[in-house]
């Protein structure tokens, strides 16, 4: 048992750390750090820098741009990106679509899509959730009916993150309406420019356009865009959702937030000094840091276990990481709003002529939106309630 990184792991960490800080534009990292929205160009630019280095899709098969990293290296890589406030590689391209296609796609599909996905030449989004099928995904209703060389798709998807930027969407569609719930579902790739697709924005709490509804009205999709076998889409989705958990605790993100909070606290007046001089505030920060340290070790324990030959399944501990990780991400944003205090009330849209930020603090208007936005992390990707159920059943046997 040795709980320290090996010298090789330390060297790797330092390499990732210095690359992140020297190569990714500071302006992009500032936006991430402040919790302000990124433009599509920001995300593409950052990912292409990573991809040029060979680091956009390290967990993919070597043939498609992956790196044969150990689980610990992958863990280090993700955490370093997060701590440097570098946008993670576009999630749908890199952590969902890519792994599924590399595993279940045809050679033609791989050739056509994978390298473009890694470089964000194509932007992929996800078409899983429907208005009546959120956590209960298997009850989805969007259907695809075979018509010659095409499927004809009708239905509606929702919570489609950044679908407004997307060139392609990978969808779960019902191809056999007779089959029970999980069966009869297929995994289809759909060109977002196809006639019959409408994208409607949904504004989230903080007022940002992050998610969409996507409507399909007799959309014709070539059968060559079916992934794997018809009616086996549920298997591919399960594979994908297990992959989604990678780095789900977002330790590095919360660390970066805490670091920033401490820095800002030293500049925020309070009483005769600053907020950092207030023992009660420091205590609340420390509580989050301590819980985060424990979660960091827990995450390393999980990562180390994944490195063993006998464990190819996703660890049930990923539910634990999801629950506590999301809680700590949220706790950090609560501290940020507390720090902004009376100034948190001001909204970012200050309008023309209003040059001075509230109280002269240029970050306070983004504090509450960051808090609002982060309420989602305990909801999406399988809500924390679902994760509790998973542990109760899968680990405790209740």
């Amino acid at each position: 048992m040795d709980l320290r990184f090996t010298p090789e792991e330390v060297a790797f960490r330092d390499a990732v750390r210095s690359f992140c800080r020297s190569e990714i534009p500071a302006e992009i990292r500032r936006k991430v750090s402040e919790g302000r929205g990124l433009t599509k160009d920001d995300i593409v630019a950052s990912q292409r820098i990573l991809n040029a280095k060979g680091w956009a899709v390290p967990h993919w098969p070597r043939a498609w741009g992956g790196q044969d990293w150990t689980p610990i290296q992958r863990y280090i890589y993700t955490e370093e990106l997060l701590q440097a406030a570098v946008p993670l590689p576009q999630q749908f391209n890199c952590y969902m679509f890519g792994p599924v296609l590399a595993t279940f796609g045809s050679e033609v599909q791989k050739e056509r899509f994978l390298r473009r996905a890694a470089n964000l030449d194509d932007w992929w989004c996800q078409g899983f959730s429907e208005p009546g099928a959120g956590s209960d995904l298997a009850s989805l209703k969007t259907r695809a009916v075979r018509d010659g060389d095409h499927y004809v798709v009708d239905g509606q998807k929702t919570w489609t993150t950044l679908g407004q930027h997307a060139d392609w969407i990978f969808c779960l569609v019902r191809t056999d309406p007779e089959a029970k719930k999980q069966r009869g579902i297929s995994f289809l790739l759909i060109d977002m420019t196809s006639p019959g697709i409408t994208v409607r924005p949904i504004l989230t709490l903080e007022g940002r356009h992050e998610v969409n509804e996507v409507f399909f009205d007799s959309v014709r999709v070539p059968v060559e865009n079916l992934v794997g076998e018809e009616n086996r889409g549920w298997d591919y989705a399960k594979f994908l959702l297990a992959n989604e958990r990678t780095g789900i605790a977002r330790i590095g993100l919360t660390k970066e937030r805490i670091t920033r909070i401490k820095r800002l606290a030293k500049e925020m007046p309070a009483g005769d000094g600053t907020m950092w001089d207030d023992p009660a505030f420091r205590t609340r920060v420390a509580e989050v840091e301590i819980e985060l340290k424990a979660l960091e070790i827990t995450q390393m324990r999980v990562a180390a276990r994944q490195g063993r030959a006998d464990s190819v399944q996703p660890d049930p501990a990923s539910s634990l990481l999801k629950i506590r990780g999301s809680q700590l991400q949220q706790a950090a944003t609560e501290l940020l709003v507390e720090l902004a205090g009376p100034f948190a009330l001001a909204a970012p849209e200050r309008g023309a002529g209003a040059n001075d930020p509230p109280g002269g603090f240029d970050w306070v208007d983004a504090a509450a939106p960051s808090y609002f936005n982060n309420r989602k992390v305990s909801i999406y990707g399988g809500s924390n309630e679902i994760q509790h159920n998973v542990i109760a059943k899968g680990v405790l046997g209740l």
Binding site: L205, G207, E338, G341, L345, A347, D356, G360, F372, S383
Partner: protein, 383 residues
């Protein structure tokens, strides 16, 4: 002891509830009202005046209706339930309390008729860059200038300043930045030379502004009470603000809790209503407990906000804010969580309740601020 409304209070509750329900029948209509240039429609304000709500707290001798804290509570609860954006808190509660408790006969005669008929709106300019929630931390200066004063300084996050005709401004006529002594409240017309207002929307659908005062000249008649010892008046004004916010929070939480329970009953997952899951049931119960505890504290605030003993009153209102803040956070966060995705979207009225509740936590002092005040004063129970 009697927790029932009087007949008049019952009528007031009915009329204000009906009027606001008419004005805010849907989220769309609320957003349309917010889109008005001042963040609310003038006719909305006029209808509050017509209902008599703007004169509610003032004595009948001053042309008001002689209402007390319970009447304000009734109005603010209805505002909270409907998420109404008319500046009742800024003008009637904050500005109104300062005038009601601080103005002399001349000032009352001059300003109150307009306040009551709705032609004059008020606000309180108190927060400063460095003050955080400390009312005694005032860097804005009021220098003697002949009979009157010259005001210089910056005020932050002044509620509905762009809709106000008269600002109640705290400024220091003597002493060091954090001295309790030497603070005065001054009445500054919105069109005073040297006054600049930079308005902006707030996170919760309201409006506020940065206000800068650069050599603003006011006469001797613009001093509210004692220019050197205005802190008690400012404190009482903010205490009324806390009592009003507590009631608003209760109204908003009540609405949000009802929405959540309704959602749990109707939304199905895995073939059954979400509300059939016991874990979610228990959390909805904990929300209700928090709501009822906050409701008790809103009543306590109404009972204590006119109590004669300043220390006892201060401790009580601080305790109220702590309990209400905690309820705002729990009820707001749990409502979003129990709704799932829909709770995250601006298309859903519940999301707007969540945001308002989140912001109430940071108005007139957050939880740690008031908790510290209660603790420093030795708590609520004599030992």
């Amino acid at each position: 002891m009697d927790f029932d409304f009087s007949e008049e209070q019952g009528l007031l509750r009915d009329s204000v509830t009906r009027a606001l329900a008419d004005a805010y029948p849907s989220l769309e209509r609320r957003q349309a009202r917010i889109a008005a240039s001042l963040g609310f429609p003038e006719e909305g304000w006029r209808s509050l005046a017509e209902l008599g709500l703007l004169g509610l707290p003032f004595a009948e001798d001053d042309g008001g209706f002689g209402g007390g804290p319970v009447e304000t509570m009734i109005v603010m609860e209805a505002i909270g339930r409907t998420l109404a954006v008319e500046p009742y808190l800024a003008s009637a509660v904050l500005g109104g309390t300062a005038l009601r408790l601080g103005a002399d006969a001349t000032q009352r005669a001059r300003f109150l008729p307009g306040v009551i008929d709705g032609s004059l709106r008020l606000t309180l300019a108190q927060t400063e860059r460095q003050s955080r929630y400390d009312l005694h931390d005032v860097a804005t200066t009021a220098r003697r200038d002949g009979d009157g004063y010259l005001l210089d300084g910056q005020k932050c996050v002044v509620l509905n300043a762009d809709a106000a005709g008269l600002l109640v401004v705290s400024a220091r006529s003597a002493g060091e930045r954090r001295d309790p002594h030497g603070i005065g409240l001054f009445l500054v017309p919105a069109d005073a030379a040297g006054l600049s207002i930079q308005p902006y929307p707030t996170q919760d659908g309201g409006r506020a502004a940065e206000v800068s005062l650069s050599g603003v000249r006011i006469g001797a008649d613009a001093v509210l009470g004692d220019p050197q010892n205005g802190l008690p008046l400012l404190a009482r004004t903010v205490e009324h603000g806390i009592a009003a916010l507590a009631a608003e929070a209760v109204g908003s939480m009540e609405a949000l809790h009802a929405l959540t329970v309704e959602y749990l009953k109707t939304r199905k997952q895995f073939g059954v209503p979400v509300g059939s899951f016991q874990a979610l049931q228990h959390r909805a119960v904990d929300m209700m407990i928090a709501l009822e505890q906050a409701r008790s504290m809103a009543l306590y605030a109404a009972m204590m906000v006119e109590a004669p003993d300043a220390a006892e009153r201060a401790a009580a209102l601080a305790a109220v804010k702590v309990q209400v803040n905690k309820a705002c956070r729990l009820v707001g966060q749990e409502a979003v969580q129990l709704h799932g995705g829909i709770g995250m979207t601006l298309e859903y009225i519940g999301a707007h309740h969540f945001k308002r509740l989140a912001m109430i936590e940071y108005q007139f002092g957050d939880t740690p601020h008031h908790l510290r005040r209660v603790a420093e004063d030795g708590g609520l129970i004599a030992a």
